[in-house]
Symmetry: C2
DNA sequence: TATAAAAGGATCAAATTGGTCCTAAAGGTG
DNA sequence: CACCTTTAGGACCAATTTGATCCTTTTATA
């Protein structure tokens, strides 16, 4: 239950690599994919999502590629995960204003607790922290 | 991300219904399925899992059916969810002793925090509590 | 113009989810 | 015993999601 998909893993690995580059250095998707050991075309889609949200800045043509859109210390793990996996929602019933079967369901606020717990943890971790972490 | 599947929802609804019955009262799977508004054959599989773990006790033949295997106050939401969805593991890397790419990965202990946070919340809620909660 | 790079859409195979169906086994009843 | 009731277990299947790949378009540089 509650597993991150490969897309999420790839997203994290990819953006960590970008955060480890010298500031201002532009990276090609091919380079990032090779370093992060992720299928290139798949990673390209992931970085498109990042670009739409401003997590990275992309440029085309010769000399183009990707740079972080903000300092790595201002990008949280939550943003990265949500960029590709969508919002963190442990149960459908948290989406609509109420559950289907009339009024909030019995487990409703348990799921809300889980949601805010996870969000809080992921929000407390920045890509900078991850990028500076021990080798692995 | 991190969504409970229908199987998990059905499991919770089904066992709550059972917990709401008078102590010792045997319920047919057909009855539980109708009350919880869950496809009967699917719920039957779910209750098989419960029975294997002792969350419910089953008996066959005339007068057979299901009863809780323990007091509802001694069954946690975590047990119910894990019975059908498997262990709560936000990332594959928490399964093996180390991550694939040599040594624990950078996000490893973030996922461990998430895991224990969720487990703690779900372990703190019993089926009894849910069964006695407001109507819905 | 030619080249380099990302953007975006279409497509596709594999895995997972959500469920059905059928037969077997176990227990009760006349 | 024969028969009925009820769960157990296995096989199977359709829909959805996941994990990609490929092709064309757009944007930018030389």
């Amino acid at each position: 239950m509650m597993e991150l998909t490969r897309k999420g893993e790839y997203a994290i690995r990819g953006i960590i690599y970008l955060a480890q580059q010298p500031p201002g250095r532009v990276s090609l998707i091919s380079e990032i994919a090779a370093a992060a050991e992720v299928p290139q075309t798949f990673l390209a889609k992931i970085f498109q999502s990042f670009a739409k949200l401003g997590l990275v800045t992309s440029s085309r043509g010769t000399g183009g590629g990707f740079v972080l859109g903000r300092p790595a210390s201002a990008i949280t793990l939550r943003e990265v995960v949500e960029a590709v996996e969508g919002p963190i929602v442990p149960n459908r019933c948290l989406l609509g204003s109420a559950c289907e079967r009339g009024g909030p369901c019995r487990v409703h606020d348990v799921w809300r607790q889980v949601q805010s717990g996870v969000v809080e943890i992921l929000d407390s971790v920045t890509i900078d922290t991850l990028a500076r972490g021990r080798e692995g």
